[in-house]
């Protein structure tokens, strides 16, 4: 059952080949047998009762297409009555008193939540090594990182211990782990999926999205995830198309842009080869490829690593040991309460980014850092605007290399530099995808698709057409 795609599982449930309870139990068993550390919490009892409820709905003909399909929820989304940690000691014992909008939407479909997936603390990281709950292993090679911050989600889908997982992407946190784990990940346009109840890292960059095996599955679940939310001021009041309806469109005549700045010196040769082969595949389907230039790409790193820490330094001020979350033992006075609760509750990378952000916003530095970064952000956004006048889709690598060894990158700056191909998309609020495109040294490599605002339908179509012609997305770590 676990080798079936969501599209196939939907058919299986409808044809009574298996029940949601059977499907759910099967995945719970697989999770139980897995040693990847992909989950922070496994909610077996709740999952089984949700599955029974779903089976009832299916029997009564009151189901929607996703009813009874299991999924794993990134532990950054609030789930009422279930521990929600954001990968942090700060929230180790935080039982959310409310549901995120996305949680509500998936509940409304009667989907079955298997548990909450591991992640870099507060979504800050690209390797999942910054989790208070320990690193996640890459299912393709347990000595390697799964990527981050949605590392648990990507590993779970790749290892087929969940057919679908939610993720969030602030600077690449869906696309990069999807690439490193050989699955399909979509970061939609900013404002497409509600941020309400999604624990904020950097509010103007954060966006939720699906991690699935195929583009078709991504389209199916995006239908349920996307939509306007009155509780989120930054949510777009824009109708949601049926994302599956254009999957079969031909890509003949599609104009693809290859940004020359994305094929620079730092790019691993194996990765480059996989990406170029994929581009050839598109050409063979009738797509027209041209070189384009996004000259401000290199500036995305300093711009992002100012904007995101500035926003996070403020977003994470609420974790002060007063209303919820971790409080240090026996605080002497108020300052001691603040200082120790926060220093003991946050991990190193989170503290580092809070420090950077606090500094960049402080008196005398605001113009040189924050304001300057916002101007650069404008330039990056304009690069894309110009380019999308000439091409339909931009294609590039997702990450300069395939999965690296756990514990091998110790210097924060080197880790930041590896985000070069994913950051611009968040700064500009664009949709981006990573799809399995091949292997380099037996490790999966993803191809990045970047579209104009609100072009998820096109991206899913372009991805699906590739997956009709290739079978990289069907490879399983278990086959090795």
């Amino acid at each position: 059952m676990h080798n079936l795609t969501i599209a196939e599982q939907i058919k299986g449930l409808r044809n009574k080949d298996f029940s949601s309870l059977e499907l759910t139990q099967h995945y719970l068993n697989r999770i139980n047998d897995s040693e990847l550390n992909a989950f922070i919490s496994v909610t077996s009892n709740q999952a089984l009762s949700q599955a029974k409820e779903a089976d009832k709905k299916i029997a009564n003909g009151k189901s929607s297409s996703l009813t009874g399909i299991p999924y794993a929820h990134k532990d950054i989304f609030c789930t009422k009555g279930v521990k929600t940690t954001a990968g942090s000691k700060m929230l180790d014992s935080f039982i959310s008193p409310y549901d995120a909008t996305l949680t509500n939407k998936l509940n409304a479909e009667n989907m079955v939540m298997l548990g909450k997936t591991n992640m870099d603390e507060f979504a800050m990281g690209s390797s999942n090594e910054n989790s208070y709950f320990g690193p996640v292993q890459n299912p393709w090679d347990k000595a390697k990182v799964p990527g981050g911050s949605s590392g648990g989600s990507a590993a779970a889908v790749a290892a087929r211990i969940s057919p679908f997982a939610t993720g969030t992407d602030t600077g690449g946190s869906i696309r990069q782990p999807a690439s490193l784990c050989g699955i399909t990940g979509l970061k939609p346009t900013y404002g497409r999926i509600s941020r309400y109840g999604m624990i904020a890292y950097a509010s103007s960059l954060d966006q939720a999205g699906p991690l699935t095996r195929t583009a078709e599955d991504a389209a199916i679940v995006l239908n349920a995830m996307a939509g306007f939310d009155t509780n989120d001021s930054t949510s777009a009041n824009k109708s949601v198309p049926n994302y599956t309806q254009c999957l079969e469109n031909s890509v003949n005549g599609l104009k693809i842009g290859l940004p020359k700045e994305y094929f620079s010196d730092g790019l691993d040769k194996g990765v480059e080869k996989v990406v170029m082969q994929s581009i050839k595949e598109y050409e063979s389907m009738g797509a027209k490829v041209q070189e384009v230039s996004l000259p401000n790409t290199v500036h995305a790193i300093p711009a992002y690593y100012i904007v995101a820490p500035c926003e996070c330094s403020s977003n994470l001020s609420r974790f002060d040991g007063v209303k919820y979350g971790y409080r240090c033992e026996d605080p002497r006075d108020l300052n001691d309460l603040y200082l120790r609760s926060r220093s003991e509750g946050f991990g190193d990378e989170v503290k580092r980014r809070i420090m950077i952000g606090t500094y960049a916003l402080s008196a005398g530095y605001y113009d040189a850092y924050y304001l300057k970064a916002q101007k650069v952000r404008q330039l990056i956004s304009e690069d894309f605007k110009k380019t999308f006048k000439d091409v339909d889709v931009i294609m590039s690598p997702v990450s300069p290399s395939a999965a690296f060894d756990l514990g091998s990158v110790k210097d924060p700056v080197s880790m930041y530099l590896a985000d070069i191909y994913t950051l611009s998309v968040n700064l500009a609020g664009l949709p981006g995808m990573s799809i399995p495109a091949g292997f380099s040294d037996n490790l999966p490599v993803g191809l990045q698709l970047i579209g104009n605002h609100w072009s998820e339908e096109l991206l899913l179509n372009v991805a699906h057409q590739f997956q009709m012609r290739t079978d990289w997305h069907n490879y399983s770590p278990a086959d090795r």
């Binding site: 989304f77 609030c78 929600t84 954001a86 929230l91 935080f94 959310s96 008193p97 409310y98 995120a100 941020r195 309400y196 109840g197 999604m198 624990i199 904020a200 950097a202 509010s203 103007s204 009155t230 509780n231 989120d232 001021s233 930054t234 500035c310 926003e311 330094s313 403020s314 994470l316 001020s317 609420r318 974790f319 002060d320 007063v322 209303k323 919820y324 108020l334 603040y338 606090t358 916003l361 402080s362 008196a363 605001y366 924050y370």
Partner: protein
């Protein structure tokens, strides 16, 4: 040495919305601790703010009332600092681009002169919760019911040069926000709070270093606190010292201000645009709509009272300085009672009685309708003005309606000429000496006779008739 005082005020007025500025929790005052603080107010992980449109409209009403520039795209910013009653570790406020820009308001000074006070800006922000220090020995208790209540912070130019002027300005704003129905003005409950920036300088010098006075919850304290601060600063400067820029807390019990050093340390608020909120766009249509809805403002009302009702400028100022007083007065004149007579009674008997009992006009035991009935009994000659004052007292004490009291106490004025004549005849007969003196030219004695007649009639004889008949009989 002559010193010049420079004062600017920052007034926080709580807006009268039903729900909070960024959440759907209730704003009502006095509920059990923390029962009106929802997930958004508590700053739970993942929650987001959505702006209350009524708060925006109220800010615009204020802006239009002081002829201010309205910023068509104002920005919410975060003011970052840690304090236990600030749940998110930042306050959502407006910094670089507030919703209301430059405006001005006219105040009337004690001398009767008018003075224009500039308004620098007015911006929307959320209130913090409350820290309670006397509930526990070892803990400070936090109540977040007030967290997220909408505030309009109104910042004046440093245009005031005395405590009296500052009070006049504060009262004017206090009256205005109630006129335009955006704030209940309750200073005890903290709905209307004044902070004063005070500095002194030698005449002609540039601005001196200012101190910010906080924790002032009445106009009387505002005046006291400013005067104390001015004296303190002058003392320092005259002894050759220098004033330091700081926040000082006014203690109304000890009548002193003291430094609040704890708030000063590391005071770097790191303002930046709140990424959870977008620019607030104000359309011309909305502004036109709000302009249409605005009630008559105090200055307009005053002008109307002077021009249409022929009241003196002083009377019109007093009657319009508080919305409730103006409303009371207007109910009276709508009953077709003479405006001047109504004004005299509202500012005289009624105001005296209210003051004596420390009541607001809204708590007056005599309604505007009842008072106008009383005045109409004067003009229709049922009772004299003097008797009316007695009736007023009886009404105040709850002895019934105007007519019931007049009836029960038999206070109806005697207007029957023959009855008055017979009383006068008696008085003349009983006072032959005075009659003789009067006839010899002591015309002052007329008052004596009037007095005697009124006394004999228990005040009920129509004074005008008494005068006429007396003149006739004594000539």
């Amino acid at each position: 040495m002559t010193w010049e005082t420079v004062i600017g005020l920052e007034i926080h007025s709580q807006l009268k919305t039903k729900s909070k500025i960024f959440s759907g929790a209730s704003t009502s005052f006095g509920s059990k601790a923390n029962t009106q603080a929802c997930a958004v107010d508590l700053g739970f992980p993942g929650v987001l703010p959505v702006l209350n449109q009524e708060a925006v409209k109220m800010a615009l009403r204020f802006g239009l009332s002081v002829n201010a520039t309205i910023n068509k795209n104002s920005i919410f910013a975060r003011k970052n600092y840690f304090y236990p009653d600030l749940p998110k570790g930042y306050q959502i406020s407006q910094f670089e681009i507030p919703i209301v820009g430059n405006g001005a308001i006219d105040i009337t000074l004690d001398s009767g002169e008018n003075k224009m006070v500039g308004i620098t800006r007015a911006h929307l922000e959320e209130d913090a919760g409350k820290s309670i220090h006397d509930l526990y020995d070892d803990y400070t208790a936090i109540d977040l019911n007030r967290a997220g209540t909408p505030l309009l912070e109104i910042v004046s130019e440093p245009d005031m040069s005395s405590a009296q002027e500052a009070v006049a300005y504060a009262k004017k704003i206090h009256s205005l926000v109630q006129y335009i129905d955006i704030c209940d003005g309750n200073m005890q409950e903290g709905s209307f709070r004044c902070d004063a920036n005070v500095s002194v300088r030698k005449k002609g010098d540039k601005l001196g270093t200012r101190a910010e006075l906080k924790n002032i919850n009445s106009f009387k304290f505002l005046e006291k606190a400013i005067n104390l601060e001015v004296d303190r600063q002058i003392d320092i400067l005259e002894e050759g010292g220098s004033v330091i820029q700081e926040t000082r807390l006014y203690d109304s019990i000890k009548n002193e201000t003291r430094s609040m050093r704890s708030k000063e340390e590391a005071n770097d608020y790191r303002y930046f645009p709140d990424p959870d909120l977008l620019p607030v766009a104000i359309s011309d249509e909305l502004l036109i709509e709000i302009k249409k809805e605005l009630p008559e403002l105090p200055t307009e009302k005053k002008l109307r009272f002077v021009e249409k009702l022929e009241l003196s400028s002083y009377d019109a100022e007093v009657l319009t300085s508080q919305k409730e007083v103006a409303d009371y007065f207007e109910i009276m004149i709508n009953q077709e009672v003479d405006a001047k007579l109504s004004a005299n009674w509202v500012m005289g008997e009624l105001s005296a009685a209210l003051n004596k009992n420390q009541l607001e006009i809204s708590d007056s035991p005599i309604s505007a309708n009842e008072l106008s009935k009383l005045l109409s009994r004067i003009t229709d000659n049922t009772i004299s003005g003097k008797i009316a004052k007695d009736v007023f007292k009886l009404m105040w004490d709850g002895n019934g309606t105007v007519d019931e009291i007049i009836e029960k106490q038999g206070l109806k004025q005697v207007t029957d000429s023959s009855a008055i004549e017979s009383i006068i005849d008696d008085v003349i007969a009983n006072n032959p000496d005075q009659v003789q003196q009067y006839k010899d030219g002591n015309s002052k004695l007329l008052g004596f006779f009037v007095g005697q007649v009124m006394k004999a009639s228990q005040g009920k004889a129509n004074p005008k008739q008494v005068n006429e008949i007396l003149n006739e009989k004594l000539s």
